[in-house]
Structures are given as structure tokens and as C-alpha cells.
Symmetry: C2
Subunit: 415 residues, 2 copies
């Protein structure tokens, strides 16, 4: 296999996570080591938007200590995007532009970090470069708190969100039991189509401080059935905690907030949800009459780096590092994925998945991991998720508060 010499670019795309920058650290530190193969390591501002606009940062000029701090810096250090590439047959403009930029900057390694939509983008670019005869190794680096990428055992970002959700629910569980009066708490968790994150609430229950009910998008949601569930528990316990995915839908396809009014959509046509907890809280308050509190875990569940899983940090870094190593070794058109042994102790092994298989296919919580009533997950989910949340990320602290990475972001200027 011939050695491909040129520059590398890395971009971040889609919603951020607590550990997306750990993958960036993996890509950058590994790519910077590949002297003689990778000449320059560029970071694209706001994913492919930065490539289209030629906004690149020269990562070789960053302080290595700051790149190390990326491991514990949440969100997207380079900026992200939700830019949707048109289908090639409909409009070639962006593709031509990307190819021109790749040529101009001699980009021979392209690493793209994101979820389903981003892997679709990555796949489209990969195929276009191939059919244009431009040699470039393209590798997807997985990322999504939603954990719904196809072909991988789990996704970087999921475990830290799961750890945040489980820990927070354990704490809220105690808080919600303080008074000797009735109280219902509805906790809204992210997850547009897949219920992995909402299911993570079961980890709190596994430790004895969890929700009574968990509603996932995998199961048709019915308001009356939920009310029956809640009443049964409330009459016995006077305390009920409900974990609900923002993505639950009634069997005629309505999201909970849609029971109240219209909801906005984003560039991909995805509905912008939120408000599920407050709608359900209002409903239960009226029907049961006790104190009800709706809590939305909001952005915190995807940016709480102070509570990240060290396993997740390490694996996110590994995903980035592996993408570079594989590309340098001649592989292209894959996403880095994870697999674990069929039995025995948890171990994270690498698995490469063709990009076209990943693009736009979603992975759901298996039906057999959900109880018959469709309002909780079983031991299989616990066995799956528990190893992923092990270890506490050690964030750098300065003055009692996080010390995040400070990048110089030196703009690349060709002339």
C-alpha cells in the first residue's frame, strides 16, 4: 500500500457532547505524530461549513497541554454545524467547492466527527472524492449522546450523558422525598428517536434511587396508560418519579408538546422538542391533584464534562486516534466503531464499519430489553450500560472551577 502524503483536516458536526473534544484530542495528537505522512493538521471551523468557507486552524501551533485539556472540555472546541449537503444528483455545487478546497489545501486525510446526519455527510463526501479520482482517506469518528449510530456497540458521548442522567436522578430522587407529602416528578431526557438516554435512568434505579417509570420512543406512548401507571404507584407510595424521553410519540405519531401546539423544525427537518416534562406535569397535576414538578435535563446532560465517564473519555480519544492510525494505514470510507466480547468482562474493541452502512440508519433500544408493559427497561440494559459509565473524569480545576482548554486557533492562510 502506497504512503499517502498530505494534510489532514478534522471537523465536528451535529450536537456536541461532553467528550466530543476528547475525540478531537485523539485525532490531533495522533495526526501530529504522523510526521512524513501528515504534513499539516487542520481543524475546520464549524465542520464542513468551515471547509466550504476555508476557515481552518493550524493545530500544530497549539500548546500540547491545551490539546490534552480538550479531553475534559465539553462542547465543540472548533464549532459545529447542522449543514445538510444536497444529494449529488440534485445539486453538485457544494461537492465541487469541497473538492476545490481539498485540492487547494492538499487535504489527503479527512476526519469527520458526528452522529447519523454527519456520517451521511461524511459518506457523501467520501463517495464524491472517490468518483472524482481525488485520493483522500475519509474516516468517520462517531459521536452522539443519543447512542443511535448503526453498527457500533455504543457511541462516544452516550456514556457521559448516561452517567450525568443516572447521577442526577439519584440526587433528585432524594430531594423529591424530603417532605412527607405527595409528589410526582417528571424528568425529561433527550433522545429524538432512540431511548438509550431515557433508559439510562434505570441505572439510578439499579442503585435504589431511580424512577418508577421510564417511557422510551421505542414504545407508543399513551397518556391514559401513563396515568394508570402513575396512579397505581402514587396511591401506594405517594412519590412517583417518571423518566420520559423527549421523543416519545403517541401511536398516531404525535410528540407530547404537539398535544399543546406546534413545534419548530431544524435544518434537517427534525422537530425541536422540549416541553415534554412540563406538559406531562401539568396533565398529572390536574388529574391527580398533588404537587408535580417537571424537570428538563436540557443542555446539561450533554455538556456536563465535570461528571463525564472516564471510560467514555478514554474511548472517545481512542476513536479519534484510531481513525488517524487506520487512515494512515490505508483505510478509508469507514466509521470507527466499538464492539465488546460476547461474554466475559467488558472490553472495548475496535470495529470498522463502512460509511454507507452507517449513514442514516438508526439503532434503537431492543424490544427485549424493555419490559412487557413498555414502561421500564430490564437487566439486559443495565448489563449493557453499566460498564460504560465506570470511572470519573478528572477535570482540571482552577479556583474551584473547571479549567477548559484554551486554543489559539491560528488561521491557516495560503498565499
Amino acid at each position: 500500500m502506497s504512503k499517502l502524503i498530505g494534510n489532514a483536516v478534522f471537523g465536528q458536526s451535529g450536537g456536541p457532547t461532553s467528550v466530543i473534544n476528547a475525540s478531537a484530542a485523539g485525532v490531533f495528537t495522533e495526526a501530529l505524530k504522523q510526521t512524513g505522512v501528515i504534513n499539516k493538521v487542520y481543524g475546520a471551523a464549524h465542520g464542513i461549513v468551515g471547509i466550504l468557507n476555508e476557515i481552518f486552524y493550524d493545530m500544530g501551533q497549539e500548546d500540547p497541554a491545551e490539546l490534552e485539556l480538550l479531553k475534559t472540555t465539553p462542547s465543540s472546541a472548533l464549532g459545529s454545524c447542522r449543514y445538510k449537503l444536497a444529494d449529488l444528483e440534485d445539486d453538485e455545487t457544494d461537492y465541487k467547492r469541497l473538492l476545490d478546497v481539498f485540492k487547494k489545501y492538499d487535504i489527503r486525510y479527512f476526519f469527520y466527527n458526528g452522529g447519523n446526519d454527519s456520517m451521511d455527510t461524511c459518506n457523501k463526501i467520501s463517495k464524491y472524492l472517490q468518483q472524482s479520482g481525488y485520493e483522500c482517506r475519509v474516516m468517520g469518528v462517531p459521536k452522539t449522546i443519543d447512542n443511535d449510530l448503526f453498527g457500533t456497540d455504543h457511541c462516544p458521548g452516550f456514556a457521559s450523558a448516561a452517567k450525568y442522567i443516572a447521577t442526577t436522578i439519584m440526587e433528585v430522587y432524594l430531594d423529591a422525598r424530603v417532605y412527607d407529602t405527595g409528589m410526582i416528578t417528571v424528568i425529561e431526557i433527550m433522545g429524538r428517536h432512540a431511548g438509550w438516554l431515557a433508559a439510562s435512568a434505570a441505572l439510578a434505579a439499579h442503585k435504589g434511587y431511580g424512577p418508577d417509570l421510564i417511557y422510551l420512543p421505542e414504545i407508543d406512548f399513551d397518556l391514559e396508560t401513563m396515568l394508570t401507571d402513575v396512579k397505581r404507584i402514587y396511591e401506594k407510595e405517594k412519590k412517583v418519579i417518571i423518566a420520559v424521553s423527549e421523543g416519545v410519540q403517541t401511536k398516531d405519531g404525535k410528540f407530547i408538546p404537539e398535544l399543546v401546539g406546534t413545534v419548530a423544525t431544524d435544518a434537517f427537518g427534525h422537530k425541536q422538542l422540549g416541553g415534554t416534562a412540563s406538559v406531562l406535569a401539568d396533565y398529572l397535576k390536574e388529574k391527580i391533584g398533588c404537587k408535580v414538578r417537571g424537570i428538563e435535563l436540557s443542555l446539561m446532560q450533554r455538556c456536563a464534562a465535570h461528571l463525564a465517564s472516564q471510560t467514555d473519555v478514554d474511548e472517545s480519544f481512542l476513536a479519534g486516534q484510531t481513525a488517524v492510525r487506520c487512515a494512515v494505514d490505508g483505510m478509508t470510507d469507514f466509521m470507527v466503531g466499538f464492539q465488546r466480547p460476547e461474554s466475559g468482562p467488558y472490553q472495548c474493541d475496535i470495529k470498522l464499519i463502512p460509511l454507507n452502512e452507517v449513514a442514516n440508519t438508526e439503532s434503537m433500544v431492543p424490544r427485549e430489553w424493555i419490559n412487557a408493559e413498555g414502561n421500564f427497561v430490564n437487566q439486559k440494559f443495565i448489563e449493557y450500560a453499566l460498564p460504560l459509565i465506570q470511572g470519573e473524569s478528572k477535570i482540571a480545576i482552577e479556583d474551584g472551577l473547571p479549567r477548559f482548554a484554551r486554543l489559539k486557533k491560528v488561521r491557516v492562510k495560503l498565499d
Copy 2:
């Protein structure tokens, strides 16, 4: 001074905090050491409600390791209450009952942990026992995330909430800057009357990742003025973060949700008063037209023990321990308070404050710590708050999740 021999009771009252149980640990471990003076150490279930109903736990039967874990267990391990004692001249029933129970259980030491209302309760009981000629040493142990207790430099519970708020806002700050599109984030923080917690958002700004605007209940809130503030920043930066206390009021005394109280009705046919953040978010979305997200820090800000300030944990323990030591030394009718040196490095010194001075007096953020425009706090607040959030509480972890204290709660049964 004569040695007073008898039993001790400790109760928790009012809204819980991340560290209220650290004070419980301080009271219990110190009281259990006072052999020959304090015979039995009781915990009252749900504060004075438990005393009135004779629901006491024998704390001497708890595993010392579990009492140690109380330091990092949030919420109220014994249960709390919001029971308001009538004024003595209006109704003596509860007082007589309390006196009977104190006599029956030979309670000679009474420690009560709470905020303003609880110190009022504590004061009333103290005075009643005195005028009844029943010898009992009564000590208040301060507790409130609101930080509004009179006479003390600060209150146990505040610093951990402040550390949670500042850390979370730093993380959300990064998340809210991910896309290259306009975005306004409104973060709602607890504090019905005093703005100490909302002001803590300034600690995040001090580190460079904070809100642009902070609105406190100490300053009359004006919607138009806020809009002008937000527009000015938005036009320049395209990103605005607003920290707002749930307790802000217009100059004619209206809370934010009351400004739109009659506007929306939900699917279930009743008024959606909404939270402060969501009301302001809706308003700004309409006026400015960009993406706006309202975030309520909800219960998490008062129960996130995983992110507690070690300084706060230590001081909360100290407050409980000191209450016992002072009472055994003959003091009564005081609340334990804190003071710091006028100058030089931070140090937490003990100060005893007569209960009748504390009861029902609130401490506000000084006007001179707030900027002239009334939309931020200045360096004086930072100097005040920063020492309090130092140190990271080391919570016990089991399986990647918190290991909270598990009390046996052995009920006390006389004869």
C-alpha cells in the same frame, strides 16, 4: 456552670441542600461523643412534625461509616418539613405537645437545622421552653442555598449551590456557542427574595465563560430594559446568556410568570404559568427572532452533592459539631453563624447569633455589590463568593455512581 444530662434531638427543616446532611453528621458524631452528658442521640423524622408525632430514630445504632457518608449525601436524610408553628398567643396546642414530648423523652438538647422560617420555629420553641422552666439547650444550625440568613457571613448550602451554578453555566456557555448562528440562553436560578444564587453566575463570568446579564430580585425588573440590554449584546455577539433569579419582580410587584399569566392555556385546558426562564425565552424569541433556550436549574442546584464545595461540606459539618459543643458548654438560644476576617485570606470563624435576631430577617445582596445598571454584580461579590466554592467534595462511588448513606433508622420506643 452545671452539667446538663439528658438526651439530644436533631431535626431538619425547610428545603434541603447538597450539604444539609453534613451538618447532621456534625451533630450526630459530636453528640455521640458526649458520653456522660448526652445519653441518647435522636433524629426526628421530618423536623418538628416528627417531634409532635414522636417519630425518633436512635442515631447511636447507626454504623459510623454511614454517618460519615452523610457528608456527601444530598437532601434531608431524616426528612424535612415546612410546618409553621402558630404564634403562642394564638394557639398553645403545639407548644404544650412539644413540651410533653421533650419531657417524656428527657430531651435536654435540641438542635434544629434550617433557614429563616426554621430559625423562627427554633426561636419560638426555645422561648417557650424557657418560660415553662424546662431546662433545655436549644441551638440553631443554619442551612439555606438562598444564603439569606441574618447575622452570618454566609450559610451552609449556599456555596455548593453556587459551585453547581457556576460550573454548569461554564459548561452551558460552551454548548451554547457551538453553532455559528444566533442564540440566546436564559438560565433560571432559585432565590425567591435574595439574589445570592443568581449572582453566583458571575463566578462563571469571572473565569471567562459566564452570562452577559444577571438579574437579581434586589433590583426592580423591567422587561423593556432587559430587551434593550439583550439586543445591544446580541447585535454585537450573536450570543447572549442571561442568568435570572426566579424571584425577580417588576416595580409593581409582579413576578415574571405573572406577566403572561393569562396568555397561554395548555392542551388540558388550564393556564400555563410557566417558569421565569421559559416566559422570558418566549418573549425574547418573539422580539428578536433568533433561537432562544430557557433552562431551569431546578432541583439540581440544591441537590448536586457530586459537585459540592468541600469548603461548604467542611463548614456545614463544623456548624453541626459546634452547635453540640456550645450547647454542652452551657450555651442556648443561639444560631451558629460564620464570620471571616475583615482583611487577609479567607478563614471561617464561628459566631453565635441570638435566635430572636435571626428569626425572619433576610439578608440581601448589598446594593454596592451590584452594578449601576442593575444587571450584573461586581468584583466585591466575586471576592466574597470565590473562597466559599473552593475544594471538590470527594463523594463515595460504587459502580460509577454515588454511594449515599444508608441509615437503619431504628425507631425509638420508650419502655
